[in-house]
């Protein structure tokens, strides 16, 4: 790839060691156009440089990853965010997704997978790690998983279609999009469509479990 075609990446993380580690892992495949270690600086620099993808730490001093999302999204909706975290807490992950991130991966991800995830988000699709898929299945569970089916929900937004459920289950089992496509005998593009649709539901749903997590943390 020539320089101008490469994805322009911005890193937001309060640990310098981690930022340089990610830089090294990304290598020359993408162009890192800037870094920030706290919310204010991140918002200012991202609005100024308008990168393609922002790698965003969920736990950030000064308001967390959500604060950066809220500071950028109104000005530059075209900037895409990929959340990174060491945290396993579902509410943190759900909160940053609901604030507008297009995906969530854990910091233990390999360099190759990281590049893949950045490219997927850069292309406008959603990145679901197995863990995120598990959280979503949990949050949208129809009984059995402990939650009772709730009446009065918008079925369009508050329930997963059987196909979406199948796709998420395979992702949670550790399948890549390509493997999901092969297993379900559909195209990779269709898998991405399903995942993006789940992401949209995640962001717009009024489902009790989702709003509860968010309000508990005063993030709505």
């Amino acid at each position: 790839m020539s320089g101008d075609d490469r994805l322009r990446i911005f890193l937001v993380d309060d640990h310098a060691v981690f930022r340089s580690g990610v830089r090294a892992e990304l290598g020359d495949a993408v162009a890192v156009v800037g870094e920030a270690d706290e919310v204010e600086a991140a918002i200012e620099l991202i609005n100024e440089r308008v990168p393609d993808v922002v790698l965003l730490d969920v736990h950030l001093p000064g308001g967390g990853g959500q604060a950066v999302l809220r500071g950028v999204a109104p000005h530059h909706p075209e900037v895409r965010f990929l959340a990174l975290s060491v945290s396993d807490a579902p509410e943190d992950v759900i909160a940053v997704i609901r604030a507008g991130a297009r995906g969530y991966i854990t910091k233990t991800i390999s360099g190759e997978e990281l590049l893949q995830a950045v490219a997927t988000v850069g292309a406008g699709d959603a990145v679901f790690s197995p863990r995120l898929a598990g959280f979503v299945l949990d949050a949208f569970a129809d009984g059995g998983g402990g939650s009772v089916p709730t009446a009065g929900l918008d079925p369009e937004l508050d329930q997963l279609s059987p196909r979406e459920r199948e796709v998420l289950r395979l992702i949670a089992r550790g399948y890549t999009y390509k493997e999901v496509a092969r297993d379900l005998v559909i195209s990779s593009k269709t898998v991405e469509t399903h995942v993006s649709s789940v992401l949209r539901k995640l962001q717009l749903s009024t489902r009790h479990e989702l709003t509860k997590w968010a309000t508990d943390r005063r993030l709505v």
């Binding site: 233990t108 569970a141 009984g143 402990g146 089992r173």
Partner: protein, 381 residues
């Protein structure tokens, strides 16, 4: 002779005639403490300042005698004698008590006079005593002046008022004693917690850091150590499970899956990526399912050659499913003999014995996936 027996004897004497109390007080004054050569009394007669202080309150006694005589309330004058004698005695005793007794007086008796740490303590003490005295007098009045028709109620009401007065006078003292006890206990609990935390951090984090430093030239081993430590620390911080309880049995499916993850990661140096959807309490069937899952995970860790194994568990309304997947070298499930076949059989047999099922999907070069399904007994009635 046991000191408790002596005290019980004096209490019985006191209950009988009241002489016991006097004798006990005299004995306390006259008999030297064990390990001391002089008694309180012998020290008190040589305590010139103390004697001067006692003399200083005599004018007050005289004034009260005159006032009470003028107001024809002689009984007040007559009780003021013993009160003043007691006050003088208390001053001398406090000044000349042994070190041990002074500690007891300061800690247990003095709080009666100044309970709070606040500045208004003296005023509140006066108020308290005044209210107590009023209540006491009220109680006596009820006892003495009550109407005959309420004859039965009178003694009860009086007694209640007397008790109320005691509570008002002594209550804050009791409370302050309890408060001291509580704060002392809290301080001890905090110190214990800190020590426990230090021990945990030492046992887990510091040990691991030392191991990491020693094996700095083996990146694979370092990653494994860091990963195991991260798991343990996280389960301690977020799930409240102290480090070192890995061997303890899990009580829910998700805990059991987490246990498998930690054990396999520690034993085989691979990453086990766990996703659990839903949770439920463990039954005999689900324990068998966990055993089979562990077998499948260990199998993948040992034979696949992959660095990561995915472990996915889903709790349904009437079924629990577990998927163990790796992207390793794979094998042909229908054709292999030896270890693969043996383990597959043991997993399958274990599942089928309890109405579960096991399906193994693999082909050479394409990794492997073991699918385990177990019905939930309690939902089949």
């Amino acid at each position: 002779m046991d000191v408790t027996l002596v005290r019980i004897g004096f209490v019985l004497l006191t209950l009988g005639t009241g002489v016991g109390l006097l004798v006990y007080a005299l004995a306390w004054l006259l008999v030297p403490l064990e390990g001391e050569s002089t008694s309180i009394l012998s020290r008190a007669v040589t305590d010139r300042r103390g004697i001067r202080m006692v003399i200083a309150i005599i004018p007050l006694l005289v004034v009260i005698q005159i006032v009470t005589a003028a107001l024809h309330i002689g009984y007040l004058g007559s009780i003021s004698w013993p009160v003043f004698l007691a006050a003088g005695g208390a001053i001398l005793i406090r000044r000349n008590a042994s070190e041990q007794e002074r500690v007891w007086i300061n800690q247990d008796l003095m709080p009666m006079l100044h309970t709070g740490r606040d500045r208004h303590s003296r005023r509140t003490v006066l108020l308290r005593v005044a209210v107590g005295v009023l209540l006491g007098i009220g109680g006596l009045l009820v006892l003495i002046l009550g109407h005959t028709t309420r004859a039965a109620l009178r003694p009860v009401g009086g007694a209640l008022l007397v008790i109320a007065s005691i509570v008002v006078v002594f209550g804050p003292w009791w409370i302050s004693l309890v408060r001291d006890l509580i704060s002392e206990r809290q301080a001890r609990a905090m110190a214990e917690e800190r020590a426990q935390m230090a021990a945990h951090v030492h046992d887990s984090v510091l040990q691991t850091l030392a191991l990491i430093q020693r094996s700095a030239d083996d990146p694979h081993h370092v990653v494994r150590l860091a990963r195991a430590q991260e798991r343990e620390l996280r389960s301690w911080l977020f799930e409240g499970r102290p480090p070192g309880t890995i061997g303890q049995e899990a009580s829910t499916l998700a805990e059991g899956i987490g246990l498998i993850q930690r054990q396999v990661e520690a034993d085989h140096g691979i990453t086990v990526q766990v996703v659990v959807v839903g949770d439920c309490a463990l039954t005999e069937r689900l324990r068998a399912l966990l055993e089979a899952s562990r077998e499948a995970t260990v199998n993948a860790a040992k034979w696949s050659g992959a660095t990561q194994v995915s472990l996915y568990a889903e709790v349904d309304a009437d079924m629990v499913m577990v998927f163990v997947r790796d992207r390793g070298r794979g094998f042909d499930p229908g054709a292999v003999s030896g270890d693969h076949q043996g383990i597959a059989q043991s997993i399958r047999a274990r599942m089928q014995r309890l109405d579960g099922s096991a399906v193994i999907r693999s082909s050479p070069g394409a990794g492997a996936e073991v699918e385990l399904a177990m019905p939930r007994l309690e939902h089949r009635s």
